[in-house]
């Protein structure tokens, strides 16, 4: 990581978990991603947290090994991976066609389709849909899209309480916390911390934790079951995302493990699904690829415990009203970048997080968005634009080791996009921002770097100057500081300055081979 960016961010440097406080109703507000520090500052905090690192190391290594085993069971894995990438590319190259087809199919099946250009519009649509039901609470299936748009906070402002029902999301919500992993959002919490959160917070939200709750996983899961069951049974409105939307049939698909998804998709009268436009796939048959690659990449299972598929509404079974909110919020901007658009293939499996040496040490919060890890490092700067030091720093949150690309079930070349985005940060250039082509300038911190590169080019073009410079350095090497002054200081935050030799290579060559250049 080379981005030692000091003194520019405006957010708290004390770590994301400190950022939110109690709400006006004695009910905790969720933490938000607003004003998050750039990756290096956040990572500098998280990498010093030894418990976090040990939780992360244990979790990522466990699942990494299991995934490798699950993938090895399929002799045709590489072909499934190529087919998955090709299906997503086909979709993206004709996204307008498939979105219109999807809209027709969903409408024909009894659903209503809404279009949201950005987060504010999506939140407004969902809020009005909930209000129209007269309800003041909703149950939610784990959904990164609704985290991306800050839906829970928007609903809370409208007096509507959103209850997260995935166990890990419940832990995060009760703990005023932020998710730190795509698949296991509370991966940064150990069971003792979870027990404390349940004991101290459940009563504020509904049924309290059982007396004398232990920190055994089974007891904690039981406490969550009891706490949430009363909410499921009375829920009139469910809110979800979706893993896939099939254009030709109008079918939505959600994969999950706990059954909270089934509860939210089946018991309420009204279901509102907020889904990114890139989640569409052309045909029913295309699911045969992703339903093989997603579970094995994600939970390392042959198949996840529950997969729900629904097409519009069904008389007498499940919700009577179904609303699909199609969300752009930066996806079309990402699509406009011919190198970067492959990030939209992502099926949110989290395999790239689990193999990433940077994620393993920095943790999910340092990425400053619901999309952590390598995929977050290329998705967040594209969805939001290079809007702040955080987004500018994310393409550098990688050693470019390539492990993420190897495990990606839709073959996203994450290192390629990282390098592409670094170039964008350093050189500036033409990007699409909220649908408009815009020229952005190089990031300020990188202007000094560019000036240095220009100076270096001049020096290498002028051998005499290089020779004199090297001799000067050799003679004064005892006086050189351990850290660079001025704009170079950030570089030496994370690096040792190399020792300057007593004699330059050129001088040594001239002395020992006898013929100076």
């Amino acid at each position: 990581m080379s981005s030692g960016r000091k003194g520019r961010h405006v957010g708290s440097a004390t770590g994301p978990s400190d950022q939110a406080d109690g709400g006006s109703l004695g009910r905790p507000h969720s933490a938000t991603y607003l004003g998050m520090p750039a990756f290096p500052q956040a990572a500098a905090v998280s990498t010093r947290d030894s418990r976090l690192r040990s939780n992360l190391r244990h979790a990522t290594h466990t699942i990494r090994a299991k995934r490798a085993q699950a993938v090895a069971e399929l002799a045709d894995w590489d072909r499934l991976r190529s087919a998955g990438a090709a299906i997503k590319d086909r979709t993206l190259r004709h996204l307008d066609h498939y979105l219109v087809q999807l809209e027709e199919s969903v409408t024909r099946a009894g659903g209503r389709v809404h279009w949201a250009a950005d987060a504010a519009e999506a939140n407004r649509i969902v809020t009005e849909l909930v209000r129209a039901t007269g309800e003041t609470e909703v149950v939610k299936v784990k959904s990164m899209t609704t985290q991306e748009i800050g839906l829970n906070e928007a609903l809370e402002r409208a007096g509507i309480h959103a209850y997260e029902t995935d166990l890990a999301e419940l832990i995060v919500q009760l703990g005023d916390d932020l998710p730190s992993h795509i698949l296991v959002p509370a991966i940064h919490r150990n069971r003792g911390e979870i027990r404390d959160i349940f004991r101290d917070r459940m009563a504020n939200w509904g049924r309290p934790a059982p007396e004398g709750l232990s920190d055994r996983s089974a007891d904690l899961a039981e406490a969550a079951r009891l706490h949430l069951r009363e909410k499921f049974l009375r829920a009139k409105v469910g809110v979800s995302g979706a893993n896939f939307m099939v254009a030709e049939t109008g079918t939505l698909v959600i994969v999950e493990s706990e059954g909270n998804g089934r509860m939210c998709l089946t018991l309420p009268e009204t279901l509102i699904s907020v889904v990114g436009i890139e989640k569409v796939v052309p045909t029913w048959r295309d699911l045969e690829v992703f339903l093989q690659t997603l579970p094995r990449s994600s939970t390392a299972e042959r198949m996840n415990p529950y997969t729900s598929m629904w097409t519009g509404t069904t008389d007498g079974d499940g919700p009577r009203f179904f609303h699909l909110v199609l969300l752009d919020n930066g996806r079309t901007d990402t699509l406009a970048d011919q190198v970067g658009r492959q990030a939209l293939r992502c099926i949110r499996c989290s395999a790239c997080l689990n193999v990433c040496p940077v994620y393993e040490r920095a943790g999910g919060h340092a990425y400053g968005s619901p999309y952590p890890g390598p995929i977050g490092a290329i998705l967040t700067p594209q969805l939001r634009g290079l809007a702040s030091p955080l987004e500018e720093s994310l393409p550098y949150a990688s050693s470019l080791c390539g492990a993420c690309f190897e495990v990606c079930p839709v073959a996203i070349d994450i290192p390629e996009v990282l390098v592409h985005l670094r170039e964008r940060v350093v050189e500036g250039g033409v990007v699409t921002l909220r649908g408009t082509r815009t020229v952005i300038k190089p990031a300020r911190r990188h202007r000094a770097e560019r000036a240095m590169m220009r100076a270096a080019r001049w020096t290498f073009d002028h051998p005499g100057a290089l020779r004199h410079g090297q001799r000067l350095l050799s003679r004064t090497r005892g006086l050189l500081p351990g850290r660079l002054p001025g704009p170079g200081r950030a570089w030496t935050d994370t690096r040792e300055l190399p020792d300057v030799p007593a004699e330059s290579f050129r001088d040594w060559w001239a002395r020992t081979r006898g013929d100076a250049t």
Binding site: A109, R262, M309, T332, D333
Partner: protein
Amino acid sequence: MNTAASRERILGRVRRALADVPHDELPEGHPVARDYLSTHGQHTPIESVDLLARNLTDYRALVHRSDEAGLPVLLSRLLAARGARRVVVPTGLPDRWLAEAPVDIVTDSASAALSPGELDAIDSVVTGCALAIAETGTVVLDAGPDQGRRSISLVPDHHLCVVRIADQVVDSVPQALLRLAPDRPLTWISGPSATSDIELDRVEGVHGPRTLEVILVAGDPRPTSAYPFDVRS
């Protein structure tokens, strides 16, 4: 509310973003090679059923085998072992299946639908299935007459699911999708509800049924004997 303007805005942005895609490229014009396998390994029907049983067990479902004649006794025994008193069934479940079971049978239908609260007071649910997938250890429900509304196999804590070996076992996910109807609400079930959210320690049973028992039945347990024909390929 009217989101027509946003619809046009988003579709316009998509079209501008895709300026590099040749205008004459059809959606199907971008190639997708389907050279992956339709099944993993060749299995005889008996091997497929064994694989299904193994994979179901691996994910902590309880697997039982029976023939057509023995099914009512087996179901009765399993419900008794569980201590189940009230059992919900869909309208199309053959009466014979629970003829031996000393339980109160509550029939759920779209016109006489149990509320979520009523379902919460039920001990067990007995259903058939649309098909089962051997390679993944999955049973799929499609809300057919012997499966009923999705909520009846969700809210009770104990699910007994009957699979006909003769015509309901397929090997793979691709084979399953070929046989399923997208316009029906589908629930794919691979073992009981589970979570690994706490320190990645797998715990069976959060919100869905914490006990899943799958009964693999030889012969045709349905009252009409228009079957069995083997539709597996």
